[in-house]
């Protein structure tokens, strides 16, 4: 069934990211996602960045569909189905939330007073949800060095005592995740990663999101580090829209 709540507020988070707030009374686990339909455009997977009675989609304007979605005005409807997928495991104690791109959106429901944030972006004004974290609990990396560490997210990880966290939660594009997994491969840490593969059905039928025979939409999007390390396809190959095997550059 398709839910069609009306937007209450549209908040501008960064020049490329907006958050759409709405009421919808369905249970959602942190890390789960919905398929959002923009009639006339397409249907795209989106994490829920708030999961209480009031819910939120945090939309980065990548292309055609996300641009229209991000422009939804208060009072207008959005159309979505779900929630789908497996959420993050909750733990007690110190946790680290690592988000690149729109990644912090799906991590936001995991935020609590024990959470430390590591946020990476191209530039200072694209750091999503950094205001959640007190300055003592925030690490920032920017490609252009306009804020925090100059460099990519792995540079940010290097300054942190990763083993001091009960769990590290990571969300971002697969290339970013790959470099993180390579970096931590010999470290004794607990990590869960939310994978972003392109999705057509969202319900485990179309095979477009699969990695090593696992469906990101159903077996994931969250996987623990050990599962990810075993994946032959992870960070190497994926199928394009047509089903043709292509390599990550």
């Amino acid at each position: 069934m398709i839910y069609s709540p009306r937007i209450l507020r549209n908040e501008i988070n960064t020049p490329t990211v907006n958050s759409l707030y709405f009421k919808l009374d369905i249970p959602v686990e942190p890390g789960q996602f919905v398929m959002v339909w923009v009639p006339g455009k397409s249907e795209i997977p989106m994490s829920l960045s708030m999961i209480g009675e009031e819910k939120c989609l945090t939309v980065k304007k990548y292309g055609d569909t996300s641009n229209v979605l991000a422009a939804t005005k208060p009072g207008e409807r959005i159309f979505l189905r779900g929630p789908y997928g497996k959420g993050f495991t909750r733990v007690d104690g110190k946790i680290l939330l690592v988000g690149g791109g729109s990644g912090m959106a799906s991590l936001r429901p995991m935020f609590n007073e024990n959470a430390h944030g590591l946020i990476a972006a191209r530039s200072q004004d694209e750091l999503l949800f950094k205001e959640l974290f007190g300055s003592d609990k925030l690490t920032v990396a920017t490609d252009d060095g306009t804020s925090g560490i100059k460099g990519n997210i792995v540079e940010g990880m290097k300054v942190l005592d990763l083993e001091s966290f009960r769990m590290i939660y990571v969300c971002g594009p697969e290339r970013m995740l790959k470099s993180i997994v390579d970096y931590v491969s010999d470290k004794k840490i607990n990590m869960e990663l939310s994978l972003e593969r392109s999705m057509k059905c969202g319900i485990g039928l179309c095979d477009s999101c699969s990695v090593d025979g696992l469906q990101v939409c159903r077996d994931g999007p969250t996987f623990n580090l050990e599962e990810v390390k075993k994946m032959e396809e992870f960070g190497r190959t994926r199928l394009s829209e047509s089903g043709k095997r292509v390599w990550f550059q």
């Binding site: 069609s4 339909w37 009639p39 485990g204 095979d207 025979g213 396809e233 394009s240 089903g243 095997r245």
Partner: protein
């Protein structure tokens, strides 16, 4: 009592159990097919493959309204030239892989079948439900002379078994099945033409507007089709449509099916469905005193 024997065959193809993965569901990526075989499917049928690479329709490609599933994926496929590697990966499981193909005419079907045989598939499934280029709005599978021509020519050009997958969206299924009776097996059914409109946007949900209904809603149609064909034509039939449990599969087998395929149920049950239904089938057979599939195959026909 010893464990019931759930092995079967579809024509000359031996199967360790009656449950195959249906075409179009989780069978684009070789790794996925391999995993599904490893987790208990007796064989997989690949996504339908055509001559050229195609992206298919933009999402929404499925409309989901439990238990109603309607899809219009638009035959995305990497093109026959790009599919050999996926089949190679899938075949590492050691189990049969069936190559599904679609074309716009006889020549395409013959070419595609030859390539699939080259790639080492164990059988060919002709998807005869794709849109008919000449007959606007209808399907190749609705034109019995075209079906006959395709089946005879493909049969003449490959050595591996050839299955014909037919559409239920026809006035007289028996006529089409007769036209396809040179096949080694008939696969019944493809999806039932359907549509969903969202009343809050006032729009058809699927980008393609029209789609194909699958899942439990169409099981009665699939059972009827298998029963109809088995009542008049002596040919192996593989049942597909709405199977979620061994009970569903047994219904198809009692209607005369030799094996069955599972598609949409992967949505609710995940890949684990294959071991689930095999276990359920063994339990049913043990409880009813059946020792092999043949003991109850076609029971409802008599």
């Amino acid at each position: 009592m010893s464990k019931p024997d759930i092995s079967t065959s579809a024509g000359s193809l031996q199967l360790s159990n009656p449950f195959l993965l249906a075409s179009g569901i989780l069978d684009e990526n070789g790794y996925t097919m391999r995993r599904i075989l490893d987790e208990g499917a007796a064989a997989v049928v690949t996504k339908s493959i055509g001559m050229e690479e195609r992206s298919g329709y933009k999402p929404p490609i499925v409309s989901v309204d439990d238990p109603i599933v309607i899809n219009a994926v638009g035959l995305p496929n990497p093109g026959i030239l790009n599919v050999g590697n996926e089949i190679k990966i899938a075949k590492k499981s050691g189990k049969p892989v069936v190559g599904s193909i679609f074309g716009k005419d006889v020549n395409e079907f013959v070419h595609l079948a030859g390539k699939m045989e080259e790639y080492g598939t164990d059988a060919i499934e002709l998807n005869l439900s794709c849109p008919h280029v000449k007959g606007f709005g209808s399907e190749i599978g609705g034109d019995s002379s075209l079906v006959k021509e395709i089946v005879e020519n493909v049969k003449g050009s490959v050595k591996i078994p050839v299955w014909s997958k037919l559409s239920p969206n026809v006035t007289s299924l028996i006529d089409i099945a007769r036209a396809a009776s040179d096949s080694d097996a008939i696969v019944l059914i493809n999806t039932v033409r359907g549509m969903k409109i969202d009343i809050h946007s006032g729009r058809p949900v699927l980008t393609n507007r029209l789609g194909g209904l699958s899942g439990p809603s169409i099981k009665p149609v699939g059972i009827r089709c298998v029963y109809e064909v088995k009542s008049s034509i002596d040919i192996p039939v593989i049942g597909v449509g709405g199977i979620e449990s061994a009970a569903d599969a047994i219904e198809y087998i009692m209607a005369g099916a030799s094996a069955v395929q599972i598609g949409t149920a992967l949505w609710k049950h995940g890949r684990g469905i294959f071991s689930k239904v095999s276990n359920e089938l063994e339990e049913f057979m043990a409880a009813e005193g059946y020792t092999k599939i043949e003991d109850f195959r076609g029971l409802a026909l008599t």
